[in-house]
Symmetry: C2
């Protein structure tokens, strides 16, 4: 089951289709799948991954474009299934390499992408499509299907080539009572299944979760109860792209006579776009600007805010720390986190909850009330998908290993032959030839880090240094030596950062280094690298013995000519 | 509700009882509560907190003994409610300050403490007690009650003084069918309630969780199913102090004809102690040593291992990474995580799960099977406690703010007057005077960090440096200047660690610094601190403009006399 392929794949047989994920399989984030047929490429999604503890200081992680960077002219199009960051966030970085790459997606998806590209000063070629439509890009014949997810206007895409029919769900769930009435097109999937689906790429995120996702509309009454009870300040935090969630908040706010104020740059921007496109219905006069909201009686306003993941710089985090300039949380205020708890963010989110509770706020979150439902199909829904599509081959996508494996098991339960369920991971090459999908090789994919303004210059060596520095700080030893002889011409200067608060902690180091310098001089060592090595060794041993710690030891040996 | 007291408390009125938590309230970990009466002190628990992201490189966090360090001779005893690290782990550090401090606890608790103290080369004064017993320590008259928790031999303690009766639950749940038949003594609590409990300190950990904790014994049949199905290698990971969980694993292993091998230093040690004390019943011949286990056919052995929290150095993590020397996980092996997922450890634990699944193992964890139950009372059980004890005053302990507040609400629901429910946090002083508990002040408590061999020298300044270094690395600029004039006598040496993998990333810095040194020299600046400041400023500005990053800038300006 584990993809053991480690060598590059052989040439793709004529008429075959090659599928390679450059991101998104074996992880949740930076989704990007490349389809190859008759020498041409089609990309589905191009998103970012948000870094965790093992990549400190990094802003974003991109898919590794390395495998296709010499073939960008062969790319017919990039298809975006929906507008979440983990599906569109890396597009501007891809467009830097080929600005005229056509980008295909639904109206709302493209509107979000356009706003993002504008910040990057890019003007991409956009091709708008909708469910039920077909579009042809070279050898790739596409058909789009409506899909329900936690953002409006999501699509699944069928890719027809002479190799067969591929269906990619994108991110999907099967809410049977969606707020906007736009159902996941199970009927369309069934029709495609009748035709025959050769390879089915399926969202794995919730494959481990039994049963079915509660309909989004069941959140409305819960919000109504919580919001109706609030008598003071009221803040609802949720994802900035979850238009239907925000819609429910607006509706409830109106019922209870509260104006609504959007807080957070992405919330203001996205809801503006959704409003312009008619996806968000805003009752006239409901919205107020921040200044206006702050001047109103507290019980007449509802703030809809970002920061639901405990982002330290968000308005909500600042309120929780009592550091927000304009909004001071008082006993009896209400804060609703109408959002999921993305794995890895637990400590940050509960930090915000504890801060708010400490200030006396009533905090309502999914732990205690049904104020959030997932956007991804649970196991029960995935079974419906498999039974509708009846695919010959299955490739679980969008998930960590535990999710992929659980999804594979569901496919098998519905009758897909075990050997026709292909678990891949980033870089693993899957070829569909003569109706059979198989792992045939592996291309190198790494993590590409964005830190500040530059892409890719922060790599594994920098990150491993950061991990060492973050755990133990450093001790630097600076000494000037006579270039010709290696004789120390100054007393060593010792400084430690991130090592100890005790100003005397490094007092032993000067005599220790002086002794070592005397030794190197006596042995006639003048090479500054060798002197530095000797200094590193004695200081490293001293700190390990005395403190049992491992700070980075940084000797600076400066040759001066006298 | 928020304790606003910021000043030290006034003198304790004659006959009053003062309660101050030096750790454990407003956090989960390093529990330590100090009771003061007639000038004497009693300490309940003295544990450690395991650090999170905000204290990088730290091994342990201790309660801050500062508030009592000048009064250690007034301490009558330290009472330990049970043997978990967050209740006993800091005792050796307290004993360093006063080695003859009597330590009171149950047989198993003291056996675990003795093993710990032995590692610290300490020989503490131990006073063994059991449920139903009384012991008197100066002005403090203690009575002990059996309590059910996720470790054997836990106790609640009633503290009688002339100020009234205090009951401290320790960590508690109310399993009504405990494996060892040792129920939480609700009848005893009721009897104490009849007498009148003036202040009730109550475990808050699961106060947000509705309902009741499933009995521990329901895990047995689940383990039986999982273990009975396994046909290859089988590993069960759980907490090293959870004797009853291990007991169930041993029983099931015997049923299915597997020998058992303990893996992990603390597992081997604790189960040895439990076996010696007759708390763990080991069928003769069931246990095998690691060498023996590795030589046996895989389907005849079961490994009981530590590492359930994803600790990177544990045997289980090494197996998941494919780096364990002796145990290679293969497709079809079974790994059971019979443990909770401690908040903050999610990423590490799921990293281990994904690694094992990737290698083909079937991983069973509490997400998909009932292989763990909590050791802390849920809301339903806490209601039973309040209704049995009927306290006049309540003080929620052992929890973050969200837990404390939920627990306070439960107390109020059972009829405790709102103003008699005191939510404190570490350092907040609560005085019980004339039957009324009130916040009267605050003493300073900080975080005391253990890093390697030393205690307390790593403080907030070191940690904030580590956070900066961990996020952005550093750029150091070393230059030798003529002491008298400030003239540079060497070209600047630039080195960056944790900044960039690109060897040319800092190429611009040398000319930049040379220009700045020319400027400082031309202005007659010879003071090395001022030169260093100037260098830090220009390099900091350059890196912010060019990279939009914030590495630490470390100038070393070395005066040489020529």
């Amino acid at each position: 089951m584990t993809p053991t392929a480690s060598a590059p794949p052989p040439a793709l047989p004529e008429g075959g289709l090659r599928v390679t994920a450059l991101g998104g399989i074996g992880e949740v984030g930076r989704n990007m799948t490349v389809f190859e047929h008759e020498g041409k490429l089609l990309i589905v999604d191009c998103g970012v991954l948000f870094p965790e503890d093992d990549s400190p200081g990094v802003d974003l992680i991109l898919p590794d474009f390395g495998a296709i960077e010499n073939r960008l002219d062969d790319v017919e199009a990039v298809v975006l299934t929906h507008g979440h960051e983990d599906h569109i966030g890396a597009v501007p970085f891809l467009l830097r390499l080929r600005p005229d790459l056509p980008v295909v997606g639904s109206k709302f998806t493209l509107a979000l992408l356009a706003a993002k590209c504008k910040e990057h000063r890019q003007d991409p070629v956009l091709i708008e499509v909708a469910e039920g439509q077909h579009s042809k890009h070279g050898v790739f014949d596409l058909e789009f299907f409506a899909v329900n997810h936690s953002i409006p206007d999501a699509l699944a895409v069928a890719i027809r080539t002479s190799a067969g029919v591929v269906l990619h769900t994108g991110d999907i769930k099967l809410d049977q009572l969606p707020l906007d009435g736009r159902l996941t097109d199970l009927a369309g999937f069934s029709r495609l299944g009748d035709e025959g689906v050769d390879l089915f790429l399926v969202d794995s995120t919730n494959a481990e979760v039994p049963g079915f996702v509660t309909p989004e509309r069941e959140i409305g009454p819960v919000l109504d109860r919580v919001i109706g009870k609030a008598t003071q300040r009221l803040i609802v935090a949720c994802f900035a792209s979850h238009v239907h969630r925000v819609q429910q908040v607006l509706d409830v706010a109106e019922t209870h006579g509260r104006k609504v104020c959007f807080v957070g740059r992405s919330m203001v921007r996205n809801m503006g776009i959704a409003n312009d496109l008619g996806i968000l219905r805003v009752p006239p006069g409901l919205l107020v600007e921040l200044d206006e909201a702050l001047a109103m009686p507290e019980h007449l306003v509802l703030f809809v805010s970002t920061g639901s993941q405990g982002e330290p710089l968000s308005a909500l985090s600042r309120m929780a720390r009592g550091e927000h300039k304009q909004i001071r949380i008082r006993a009896g205020d209400t804060v609703v986190l109408a959002s999921s708890l993305i794995p890895g963010n637990e400590t940050a989110v509960f930090g915000v909850v504890n801060g708010l509770v400490r200030l006396g706020a009533d905090v309502v979150h999914q732990g205690g009330a049904k104020v959030h439902v997932s956007g991804h199909a649970s196991a029960g829904e995935l079974l419906y998908l498999y039974n509708a599509v009846r695919p010959s081959n299955v490739m679980p996508v969008h998930g960590e290993w535990r999710h992929l494996r659980a999804n594979a098991e569901l496919a098998r339960l519905t009758g897909v032959a075990a050997e026709r369920v292909v678990i891949a991971e980033d870089g693993v090459v899957v070829d569909l030839v003569d109706g059979i999908a198989k792992v045939t090789g592996r291309v190198e994919v790494g993590h590409v880090y964005v830190d500040g303004l530059s892409v890719g210059d922060v790599g594994e060596s920098t990150l491993s240094d950061r991990l060492v520095l973050g755990e133990g700080g450093f001790i630097s030893i600076t000494v000037a030596v006579e270039a010709a002889t290696g004789r120390a011409v100054s007393s060593p200067t010792i400084s430690g950062r991130g090592f100890s608060d005790d100003p005397k902690a490094l007092d032993d180091v000067v005599p220790l280094v002086e002794m070592e310098l005397a030794r190197t001089e006596s042995e006639g060592i003048a090479d500054t690298h060798r002197i530095a090595q000797a200094v590193r060794r004695v200081v490293g041993k001293w700190v390990a013995d005395k403190y049992r710690r491992r700070p980075m030891i940084v000797p600076n040996v400066l040759p001066v000519s006298s």
